[in-house]
Symmetry: C2
Subunit: 132 residues, 2 copies
């Protein structure tokens, strides 16, 4: 299987497959005589694992750890759970921050007349003026 097919089957772009290989996240595959990378079902499986972890918001570095745990038969599942748990906490912090931004912005938009007058509470707020 060429890199194009592996990409299609895994959902990881060819560009990223080469990148993951370069940074050592995946092991270099075999090559044909003409230097083409050759992938088998196992490699695609690994790529799909990576794709899924990335989609769930794990960084490449975290993904590398998870991949190591996946491939280590003597792993402790508690370790995996801890990684996932702290990841959840980080995501929730991020969500809270974003919700704070949305709340502020919604308040401002609600107060903004939206016509052509230059009195804009959004800009006033950004400029640090006290709310009217």
């Amino acid at each position: 299987m060429n890199i194009g097919q592996a990409s299609e089957k895994s959902g990881v772009s060819a560009k990223m497959i080469r990148y993951y290989e370069q940074i050592g996240l995946i092991t270099p595959p075999l090559r044909t005589d003409s230097n083409y990378r050759v992938y088998g079902p196992d490699e695609v499986h690994v790529l799909r694992f990576i794709k899924r972890a990335r989609t769930l918001g794990f960084s490449v570095e975290e993904t590398a750890t998870l991949l190591g745990l996946w491939q280590d038969r003597s792993r402790a599942s508690g370790e995996v759970r801890d990684i996932a748990s702290s990841h959840i906490a980080a995501l929730e912090t991020k969500i809270d921050e974003l919700q704070g931004m949305v709340k502020t912005l919604k308040h401002l938009v609600h107060c903004c007349a939206g016509d052509n007058r230059p009195d804009c509470p959004i800009l006033d707020d950004l400029a640090g003026k006290p709310a009217h």
Copy 2:
């Protein structure tokens, strides 16, 4: 006022003040004979505007637009409201995505025994195995 004080008063690092100047977000300030940048209250005001916009999650490019609208006396506040509204929509999409991730991860953590057995539903899920 030197860049250090301007940084302290605005909450924007000296490094970033120079960067904002370099990319044209702010106009170059006056210099002393010894080539030090000199800032006054107006400049700090602008920097605080920028800081606030960045904190609210606007990109530097969006911030530039807002800054332009702020400084343009003939601006239409509807334009500002539109920028804020589409920004809210983008934030809410992001929040939804993150919440989806949290939900999935929480489910997995809940199912994960967390002991030392190598049967880990989180890894199984990442690997694409059907849920038990």
